[in-house]
Subunit: 543 residues, 2 copies
């Protein structure tokens, strides 16, 4: 809640009545395999997180990672945070050293972040084997580093690393770490399930015991190695934690961190704990997708609350009931998280789901029983041939319009096309792909040739080259995904092949499908439907 | 456990001491957006599930879905299940009708599945609004349908749909549904969180109350809409459920079902509940990946336990400590689920798994440290380019032999190849595919042209035509499966493409892999390796 971040509550005993939301996408999330964020990426994500209404944004480890040092320098000038406080992550001072003399601690201060989050070891085995010092020295390092930073006016959060494993091994030592941090002035001590192996009942027990044995705000930092990161976070809150850490889209090392948006949605929509203001949660789907765009990691369709499939229904069985009573078939109203109910047109498609799908696409088919019957039959026939419309809304819409208007929109007439791939003698390893398309528009006959990395890429280039003179709008269209599926795997290369193509105009994206025994023919069908749908939705009339 | 499936325990009160594993990948998992399984796919997945050691495999809904009717017919003849029992899913009889007169119930009996799982409504709002009948009539339908099937010798499982929402709305009615099912002879009543919105504490409370109020085996069926499917399943088991349902890779409608392998791993490795025999869980990663190949849905790297990233550590801070003391940095030993710890500078292959794989193929590599190092490096380099050897043993063997013998076996030298696909004017809908291959064997230079349904099929025909004079053995080789995967989905048709080909000589089958930005080039690589491996294993010397 806003008030919490602006003026953190004083340490209190007993279960927390408010829960702080601490985002670590930019630090722990960036440990995700394949993620590599630039400073500009980090600034853009921070701005999105602030819009969402989180209380803290952990920006990175200044001093240790040069890019993160730069992030804090630019954030101080460029970011106008309305709600969130920036946190710099770092370690306690080294064994045998004073915080004031430790370059790494100095870099935390110099980052000018108002909040400093210190990782501290709380499992005595890690202290001895990884840090190679004594338990007592580790306590000194925690206490002196916290006191030093509090003295410099920083709000200090302590991330007690490997806390749960440590507590289960030696509860007294783990508790001494927590008490030392609070006594030195830490605002919050976060209990970290660093290896991610905890289960909710274990978390509830440990947090409950620590809650009873200490005062001060406790936090939870979960990883998803047991598939329980969200549940572990909720268990910690129920046991008295007043601060939750996580990442957008659950990014993070190994199986990832707790998915922050899922945690927040559960707390706010199911447990009546208003952690973001209402408008914030309604932005959740948009922010999750925008962050995916920046990280360039494909969104996970099955992601709870914000995933593209999260409110998508396939079963024909329930379609008629869903139409009458949507609340009986969804756990929350999807608009609460900025998502939408979606009907998938599948082989179990009945008239009711076709009607619902039509409504979703902006066509009122209610009462048009004869039309619905025709469309349902066409969908079933097409699916028997291998088409699938649940992943190809644009192709479904073209089919529907054809039945509504009596004919499909025709922007061009294809005369012929060909494509070839050649590995020539004497050119070791070089393979050429080329395609030629001949077609007609109202502007005349066009013959164009394209080259590419492969036959479909060459065909895509040739088709665009043939059309761009008549329809310059297609310059904005970009083929962003191409999927191939062999439908009958018992016949090798003779089998039926389905191609799904996703096209984008940088505002929206749409999917089309093509089917044939020939992969090129199937790709051609999906390519031409993609162009047709795109032109139609740009309001272009056939020229 | 084996004994549980072979002879189900009698209904008992109190917490379950054994937990049955019930897989619904082929039925509820198939509701996943974009999934479309053929009967052959389903049979292949069922065989994998049986290897894993699950107790039940729900194959589909015979009678309602023609493909599922065929699945049960073929399964009875073709599947030799060692452990699992097949379950046919269906509904109770219709309002006002008798089970014996209900075509849908008859189809369940005719499927000859030894287990029938009946979906039954237990939320009175769904009974009235979706089923449009009375609560009493619904109870009659449940009782009579269960009794009918038990009378015909079937083991009956009842899936109590929308149970948790129903119980929280009207506990008495929901409980009457459970009791009616047990009284009619149901072996198990499964409490379903159909909308997926439950949280673990809520599940624990409801299951605990139902456990106290009834006798008989209770099960749990969870969906992941709150991100808590796994935790909800564990909470149900802790509260007395003795049967868990889920799907491989968490496939399913919306956010998916409970990920069965995660549930099983948690139960077995963390909660000392041995649900599969030990060898079964060690196959978990292989089965999860093999099922991904069949469904052609990209594996999710962050998947708990079996994901490619699940035990992957970014090198840096902890690298040396991890090497010394891996157990301090991982929640379980990854080999327990057939996975591997991985440092992210390297790819998945370790020397130990290469050595193991070699042994499986008949090569003793123990003690050949330098050779193992070379092969491991080549596999890593190839995997970085997009190759995968998990599903391409024959390609891996060729690579291994090349390192063992110093050169690859060469049956022919390729001079050039080309393929084209053409849609010509005036021949509406007809597409020609043709390929020409020029190569040399000891018998001289061969130039052959092949036609086909598509460019790869034409290339396959041309390659055989060029070789058959020299190597008549290839007449027996048949290409039986062809799979394409786009590896980088952010670049449309410019992306890297992986082709997997399975070839058979009617005695055995073998798989080869090719990778490239060009689908034809990748296919050519896999085709030529398939011929090479086949000739090698027919004991043919280069001619």
């Amino acid at each position: 809640m806003s008030s919490t971040a602006a003026a953190p509550a004083a340490p209190s005993a007993g279960p927390a009545t408010t829960v702080q939301v601490y985002d670590t996408t930019l630090r722990d999330g960036a440990q995700q395999e394949g993620m590599n964020l630039s400073v500009a990426d980090k600034l853009a994500i921070a701005a999105l997180l602030d819009e969402l209404g989180v209380d803290y944004i952990e920006g990175g480890w200044p001093g240790a990672i040069p890019k993160d040092t730069e992030f804090f320098a630019r954030a101080a000038k460029e970011l106008d945070l309305r709600h969130a406080r920036l946190a710099a992550f770092g370690a306690t001072c080294k064994p045998g050293a004073l915080p004031a003399e430790d370059a790494q601690v100095r870099a935390l201060v110099e980052s000018e972040a108002p909040v400093v989050t210190l990782v501290a070891k709380s499992d005595v085995r890690h202290v001895e084997r990884a840090l190679r010092t004594t338990g007592e020295e580790n306590l000194r390092m925690i206490g002196e580093t916290v006191r030093h930073l509090v003295g410099l006016g920083r709000e200090v959060v302590v991330d007690a690393e490997h806390f749960f494993d440590g507590y289960r091994f030696d509860p007294d030592y783990a508790l001494r770490c927590v008490r030392t941090a609070f006594e030195a002035g830490a605002e919050t001590v976060v209990l970290c399930d660093t290896n991610g192996g905890m289960l909710p009942d274990w978390v509830a027990q440990v947090v409950g015991e620590v809650r009873a044995a200490t005062t001060g705000r406790l936090g939870m930092h979960a990883h998803n190695d047991s598939g329980c990161a969200v549940a572990n976070t909720l268990a910690a809150v129920a046991a008295g934690a007043g601060h939750v850490q996580g990442t957008v889209n659950g990014y993070g090392e190994r199986t990832g961190n707790a998915d922050l948006l899922t945690c927040v949605a559960n707390l706010q929509l199911k447990l009546d704990t208003p952690v973001l203001d209402g408008a914030g949660l309604a932005e959740a789907s948009r922010v999750a997708h925008a962050v995916s765009e920046i990280t360039n990691i494909s969104p996970y369709g099955r992601q709870p609350y914000v995933g593209a499939s999260a409110f998508a229904h396939k079963a024909g069985l329930h379609a008629s009931a869903i139409r009458v009573d949507p609340d009986l078939y969804q756990h929350i109203d999807p608009t609460a998280v900025g998502n939408d109910m979606r009907m998938l047109v599948s082989e179990m498609a009945g008239r009711a789901s076709i009607e619902l799908k039509g409504r979703e696409l902006g066509f009122d088919l209610s009462g048009r029983s004869e039309l619905l019957g025709r469309v349902t039959q066409r969908v079933k026939d097409a699916e028997a041939q291998g088409y699938t419309f649940d992943a190809a809304d644009a192709s479904f819409e073209l089919l529907l319009r054809e039945e509504l208007d009596g004919r499909a929109p025709r922007y061009f007439e294809v005369e012929s096309w060909r494509t070839f791939v050649e590995h020539r003698p004497g050119r070791d390893g070089t393979v050429d792909s080329e395609a030629t398309v001949k077609l007609r528009t109202g502007h005349g006959r066009m013959v164009s040739t394209g080259e590419g990395n492969g036959p479909v890429n060459a065909l895509d280039h040739a088709l665009r080259a043939a059309l761009v003179g008549t329809y310059p709008e297609i310059e904005d269209f970009e083929l962003i995904d191409y999927k191939v599926r062999i439908l009958d795997t018992q016949q090798g290369t003779d089998a039926t092949i389905r191609v799904l193509i996703e096209t984008s105009d940088s505002v929206r994206s749409w999917s089309t499908v093509g089917v044939g025994t020939n992969i090129i023919e199937a790709s051609w069908e999906a390519l031409t439907e993609a162009v047709t749908w795109g032109l139609l939705h740009h309001g272009v009339e056939p020229r």
